[in-house]
Every structure is written in C-alpha cells, then in structure tokens.
C-alpha cells in the first residue's frame, strides 16, 4: 500500500514565458523572404515553400490541389517515377498541403542527404513539366478518391457545413461533383503554376539544423522563382450563409453534428480571446462539451470546438458524432452550454485551467523543429513575427471572466449559429 504521508499533489510550477526561436529573415534577390530557424542540434532539416496558391486562388475547379500535387510529376530531366524514386531514396519526407489560402510544399531530410534533397526541391519547384499522362492518372485517381470520401459521413458533413456557412458559390465554401474532374486540363494547371508559383507573396521557412550551405541554397532556389507576368488576383465576396439544415445519409448509426458561425479573418483583435472561449467550450478533454456530452450523457466519443482563420474570413465550429436517437438532445445540450457561456461568468478556477491548456499546448507544439516551423508559417501568414507567440502568453494571462462573458455574448448569439446535422 501507499505511504500514508504522501497525500498532497506535488506543487505545480507554471511557465512564465514561452520560449520560441525567432526567425532570422533573409531575402533572395527577387525579394522572396527566407526565414531561418536554427533550433536543433539533430541532423535534420525541414524547409517549406509557402505559395499564394490555395483553393481560393484557383480559376478552375480542383486546379490548386492538382498543381501542388503534380509539381513532382516530372521535370525536363526526370520522370515522375524517377523523382519519387529519388525522394524515397534519400529518405526525404515530402509533403504537399493545400488549404483555402496557401499551398505549402515541405521537404524534410537528414543532413547527410541535404545536397541531393535541395537539388530535387529545385527541380520540383522551379521546372515542373506536368506531363499530360500524369494529369490523366491524377484525374482518374482523384475522381475515384473523392467518390470514396463522399461515402464517409465525416467528410460529407465537413463539406456541407462549409457550404452552409460561406454559401455554395463562395470560394471558401464551394464544392464540386466528382465528374467535374473530367474538365481539369493540363493547360489550366500550367497557367495556375505560372501565375501563382512566383516570387509574389511567396516565402520560405527552414527549421532544424540550418547551416549556411542550406541557407544559401534555399536563397538561390527562391531567387529562381520568376516575377509573375500578371499579378494573380482573387475575389473573395462576402459570405452568404445558407442557414441550418439536416441531411439524410443512408446507413449511418450516428448523426454528425456541426454548429458554428462565421467569425473574423486572420489577425483580428478578438482572435486570442475567442481561442480562450472555444477552448473552454470544447478545446480539451474536460471541456464543457466533453463533460456534458461524453462524461455525463455518454452520447459521444468526442466533441470539439475550435476557431479557424483564413486570409479573408474565419469561423467557429463545434463538432461531434452522436447516436442517432440522441442527436436532438445533443444539439439541445450544446445550445445550453453555449447559453451558459453567455449568461454565467466562468469561474476563476476553470478559466485558469483553460489558460494552462493553451500554454501547455503551445509548449508541446514548440517542442521540436517541425512544430516551430508550423507556428512560424502561421505567424508570417498573420503578418507577425514569432515575438507574437511569446506575447500571446501575456495576452492569454490577462483575459478575465468578464471578457469571456462579453465575447460569448457578442459572438455566440443563438440566432447567429448555424446547425448542420447529417445522419439517418
């Protein structure tokens, strides 16, 4: 049995500040900034190129993702197979991610294969040829994959929620039928590459064991990006929310629930405050939604709330999957929890926990060169330096129960919330 004298929980020490490596800013000849985060002694390096080439920039359906994914589908000197072979051979981890605003092309490599990986990156980023047969294979594969994805309730509800929030025609909410892939052409892809993979708006982040060799090579590759002949443009109209709805989905045992509203774009003054509100409601295990829906009622395995920001808009979303027969009550419980945020000030104790959750999360993300790179990319997109992340701690600390109440009253009025459910 346990020692009787050990009864008290050990005293907890709280971090006063969060340490984050500041990015060293260098500039290529054409003005493209290269940010270096020399933050690891281990023999690894990650570098990411961030382009204004997300889906809201595309003029043709599926074009943004196709361009990013087909960068490695061939160069003047190597086929898609040879490029894939080389990336795999050097153990490089190559990742393409496309969101609404940006395409992020990342390479991660052991230092001993750095020169080879840099040479590959140069080929992939600067001289892609987008061979016709690779475009054809991509079309077929993606069309089939989209059909598979659309048979999954969680994928469908995500699409549906975006559509109801932003409007079916809005670049942030729009979806296309799988057959629309048939209209995707090589010309569209080449055109998108030429307009959006340029020196305009692009930046590079290198993180890990960043030496001078890597830095000068990255500056040289960045400098190889041409200025656009025509500056790329996009039009983001005001979102036209289409309101709540239920969608019947055959064969489901659970109902997917999404509740939320449009919020503000990147860099808004209430962003940090709303992070706190969202975390309190559903941002951690022990949040109010988890306590209610999972721990008290056993309705669900998980429930979340988060704030998402894009360049030109943003939203707050609550999400959960619950048994079909309790879906109605689950929605009621969520609304009740939202109402509670708007009427009762949060206790100091609960708010203190939420703040610690946010600090802890930040410390975990920043524990390692890959996470530091992700945070740095987001900061640059938001127009701030990494000092912002360090300052954020002070700002989170300063938030009071009154502020939380005021934010909830301002942003979480029931009439502003859209509820989307999908199930039988």
């Amino acid at each position: 049995m346990r020692k009787e004298d050990i009864k008290e929980l050990p005293k907890v020490v709280l971090p006063d500040t969060i340490d984050i490596t500041l990015a060293e800013r260098h500039t290529a000849g054409n003005g493209v900034p290269v940010y270096a985060l020399d933050c690891s002694k281990q023999e690894v390096l990650r570098f990411s190129f961030v382009f204004h080439a997300g889906t809201s920039w595309q003029k043709h359906p599926f074009c943004a993702a196709a361009t990013a994914n087909l960068l490695s589908a061939g160069s003047p000197s190597h086929s898609a197979h040879e490029l894939a072979e080389a990336l795999d051979f050097y153990g490089s981890w190559y990742d393409v991610s496309v969101d609404r605003d940006a395409a992020v092309i990342s390479f991660c490599t052991l230092l001993k294969f750095l020169p080879q990986t840099l040479a590959l990156a140069e080929e992939i980023l600067l001289t892609p040829t987008f061979p016709e047969e690779e475009v054809e294979i991509y079309r077929t594969k993606r069309r089939q994959r989209l059909i598979v994805e659309r048979s999954k309730p969680d994928f469908c509800v995500r699409e549906l929620f975006a559509r109801r929030l932003f409007g079916s025609e809005h670049p942030y909410g729009r979806g296309y039928a799988a057959e629309v892939y048939d209209g995707l052409t090589r010309e569209q892809i080449v055109e998108f590459y030429q307009s959006n993979y340029t020196s305009e708006g692009t930046f590079v982040v290198a993180s890990g064991n960043v030496g001078s060799e890597a830095l000068s090579a990255l500056l040289r590759i960045a400098d190889g990006l041409p200025a656009p002949s025509v500056k790329p443009t996009r039009t983001i109209p005001s979102p036209q929310s289409e309101g709540s709805m239920h969608k019947h989905f055959e064969g489901t045992v659970q109902t997917s629930v999404r509740i939320g509203r449009l919020l503000f774009p990147r860099g808004h003054e209430d962003f940090i405050g709303m992070q706190v509100v969202a975390t309190l409601l559903g941002g951690y295990f022990g949040s109010r939604l988890i306590q209610n829906l999972r721990e008290e009622h056993g309705y669900t395995y998980g429930a979340y709330c988060g704030v998402v920001n894009f360049d030109e808009a943003g939203y707050l979303a609550i999400s959960t999957e619950v048994g079909g027969e309790v879906a109605e009550d689950a929605v009621r419980q969520i609304m009740w929890e939202v109402e509670r945020l708007r009427t009762e000030p949060v206790s100091d104790e609960e708010l203190a926990i939420v703040k610690k959750i946010i600090f802890g999360e930040m410390m975990r993300i920043l524990d390692g060169p890959f996470g530091i790179a992700d945070v740095t990319i987001e900061n640059i997109q938001n127009g701030v330096t990494n000092e912002y992340t360090a300052r954020m701690v002070q700002e989170v600390k300063a938030i009071t129960p009154e502020r939380v109440l005021a934010l909830a009253q301002r942003y979480l009025a029931p009439e502003d919330l859209i509820t989307v459910t999908l199930g039988e």
């Binding site: 049995m1 346990r2 020692k3 050990i6 929980l9 050990p10 907890v12 020490v13 709280l14 971090p15 340490d19 002694k41 281990q42 690894v44 490695s72 898609a80 894939a84 072979e85 795999d88 051979f89 050097y90 153990g91 490089s92 052991l110 294979i137 077929t140 594969k141 089939q144 059909i147 598979v148 048979s151 999954k152 309730p153 055959e250 064969g251 045992v253 659970q254 951690y284 295990f285 022990g286 721990e295 008290e296 009622h297 056993g298 309705y299 669900t300 395995y301 998980g302 999957e321 048994g323 203190a352 926990i353 610690k356 959750i357 802890g360 410390m363 975990r364 524990d367 390692g368 060169p369």
Partner: protein, 404 residues
C-alpha cells in the same frame, strides 16, 4: 524495482518537456472470449478517478500537461507530457491510479456508452469500418488476436459488470505487470530516484503468466466475401507472421516497404499507375507480439474484377520469390528506416513510448539496433523468405463488394 515495476529512463537534453509513459502488459488478447473489448473499456475507466483524485484530467491540465492512452492486442499504454518542472505530478497521478481506482456504477454506465459510441464511430459508421473485425475473425481461429481491441460486439461492452472491472484491475494493474518510462532533461539517477519515491511502496501481486493459444496449422486458403454499402470493391490479403522479435518481423516489414513505402514503391508504380487496377493500395504489418498479420490491401478501380485484382497482387508477391530485389531498391528502404527513426526521435513522447515498448519486447538493445537488423537483410534472404512465406494455402482473403 523490488515490487517488480520495470523502470526505463532517458535524458533528453533537447527538450523542455517531460514524457511519462506507463505500459501495462494487458491487451485484448488477455480477454475472455465472452468479454471482448474489456481491456479497452478498462483503459477508459482508468480516467474515471480515485479516492484522492476524483478527476484524473484536472491535475494534469493544472500542470500544463496533456495525457491520453491506447489499447492494443498486447498492452495498454498511458502517457503524459508536461513541462519538465512538473514531472512529479505525472508520477503522483500514475502511482495513485495504480492502486486507488474507484469506479462507481454510474461512471461504469456512462463509460460503457462512450465506448459503444466509439465502436459506432470507428467501426460501424464508416465505409469498410468492420473490415478488421472480419479479417481477424477469419485469419485467426484459436488466438485471441481473432478479435479487434474494440471487441466482437457492443453487447460484450454493455454486459461488463462492476465485479468484473474490479477483478480485472486486481489481476492486471500491478507494478509487476507494468513498465514505467521517463524521458526528460533530468539526470538519469534523479529520474530513477523519483520512480522509487512514488512507486516504491506499492505492493504487488504477480499477474498470471499469459500463454497464447496456439493457432492450428493452416492447410488451405481462407476466404470471406461480403457485400457492403461501400463506394468501391476492396480486396485484402493477409498472411500470419511469426513472433515480433523474430527475423520474420523485419523481413515482412521491409517487404511491405518495398511494396508500398511511398510513391516510388512497387504497388503504387505498377498497380495504381501502370496497370490502373487499384485507386489506392497499401501493405503493412500489424505488429502483434505473438505473431501479427502481413497485409496487402487495395480498392479497385471501376470496371476491374476481383479476380484480376487478386491475380495482380499475387503476381507482385510472388515476384519477390523469383527475382532478387535490386541493391538500390533495398538501399532506398534502408534509408527510409533510418530517416523515420531519426524524425521520430525529435519528439520526447515518442522516445518515452519506445522505451516502454522495447522493454516489453524484452530486448532494449533493439531500440537502437533495428537499423542494423534492416541493414543486414540481403536480396538473397528476401528471396528465400518470400518463397516460404507467400503461399496461398497460408493466406486469408477478404473481399468487400460494393452493393450499388
């Protein structure tokens, strides 16, 4: 330690965080066939509080920590990461729930419905969601690996009683049945002393020795075909492997990488791109200690028949038995292993988990020794192995046809 708890520590000077991992040698294979899913249900209950700490998560969160757990067929793993200064909080909490778990009937009822919803969300509310249950049930006959960790049916979870919960706790949640690992920038001897301080006084009743049910020798191919509301036909071919520490494990792992480790691998290049038989394919090993499954899986393109797809997969498998793998291709997957291991070590939690895992395997040298094992595998050995291993009469095939 004298009560049988194994302690493994690692000083990580690159991190400001501490990771505390506690592995119990109990998984779904230790369950009775009438109460499958119990080990996983119990993992959930470990968060339901003790007399001293009624809410497990609150003190973790108060220490800026994060915690979670998972259950496999062989073991259950609990982990916490938090700022290094607060490591004692994690040790206190783990020691406390090793002895003082206090489950009320209400807590059990609520947790059972959470787990039933997890069952629904992961296994029933997804296309192909029940495939692993079907495959395990067919590939294994006697072994308790024949059911997935979630269990055979939600009814088994609903039937769990409070007495069974207590008996399970007393039987398996003992120091002698656990491995504690710590990774943080703290001197090793201090970490060992901390473990002694918090866990040293817990008495132990040795957990019973687990003897796996021997699988009968398979003499003919096994096959299961079902129809489901899925968007595309899917075929899975599985072969039973030997023990996790055997050479078979490394050979199979390497083979799956040659087959499906990246875009340049054989499956993607030949079956997806050239022959366009599958829209997606994969190959991997499940990794259970007493012998997991080698799996090759693919979703068919419209218009391709099951027979064509099946023949194409076997062609690829049997090619390993007739043609030696090229040196360059082999070097490619070796490089990949090396890179993955190094990338994995950037994370303090991964390190702590690995310490416990390799201790459970009973061979800590493997932790840093696996690269050498992969490097020692030659093209000849792969060919020899493929000739013995890729046999239809040893295979299980699961076909899920799309009901349109």
């Amino acid at each position: 330690m004298s009560n049988g708890l194994e302690v493994v520590v690692n000083r990580d000077q690159a991190s400001k965080m501490a990771a505390v991992n506690l592995l119990y040698r109990v998984g779904s294979k230790h369950e009775s066939p009438e109460r499958t899913g119990f080990a996983h249900l119990f993992e959930h209950l470990m968060f339901r509080g003790t007399e001293r700490v009624p809410d497990f998560d609150a003190p973790v969160q108060a220490a800026c920590g994060e915690n979670n757990a998972y259950t496999t067929a062989d073991y259950t793993n609990f982990y916490i990461t938090l700022p290094r200064e607060n490591i004692a909080t994690a040790l206190y909490l783990e020691a406390d729930r090793m002895t003082g778990l206090d489950i009320s009937p209400e807590a059990l009822t609520a947790e059972k419905s959470v787990v039933v919803e997890e069952f629904n969300q992961r296994y029933l509310n997804q296309p192909y969601g029940d495939q692993w249950m079907l495959l395990r049930g067919e590939a294994y006959q006697k072994s308790h690996y024949r059911w997935a960790t979630i269990g055979l049916s939600p009814d088994h979870i609903r039937a769990a009683s409070l007495d069974e919960v207590r008996a399970f706790y007393d039987r398996f949640y003992q120091p002698s049945n656990a491995i504690l690992s710590l990774s943080a920038d703290i001197p090793e001897d201090e970490m060992v002393a901390m473990a002694e301080e918090w866990f040293g006084d817990i008495s132990s009743t040795p957990a019973p020795l687990f003897v796996p049910e021997a699988e009968p020798v398979q003499s003919a191919p096994r096959r299961l075909e079902v129809e489901r509301a899925v968007p595309a036909d899917q075929i899975t071919i599985a072969l039973r492997m030997e023990h996790r520490n055997s050479r078979c494990h490394y050979l199979c792992d390497l083979l799956t990488d040659l087959m499906a480790g990246g875009e340049s691998a054989r499956f993607y290049q030949r079956l997806v791109k050239e022959q366009q038989i599958f829209s997606s394919t994969n190959a991997y090993i499940t990794g259970e200690v007493d012998g997991g499954l080698f799996i090759a899986i693919g979703q068919l393109n419209p218009g391709v028949t099951i027979e064509e797809a099946e023949a194409a997969v076997w062609r690829e498998l049997l090619l390993f038995a007739t043609e030696p793998v090229g040196e360059k291709e082999l070097e490619k997957v070796r490089n990949k292993f090396e890179a993955n291991i190094l990338f994995g070590e950037l994370n303090v939690m991964n390190k702590a988990m690995n310490l416990s895992y390799y201790a459970m395997l009973g061979d800590m040298d493997l932790l840093n020794g696996e690269v050498a094992i992969y490097n020692s595998i030659t093209p000849e050995e792969i060919m020899d192995f493929a000739q013995k291993f890729f046999r239809r009469d040893q295979s299980t095939t699961l076909v899920i046809r799309s009901k349109q």
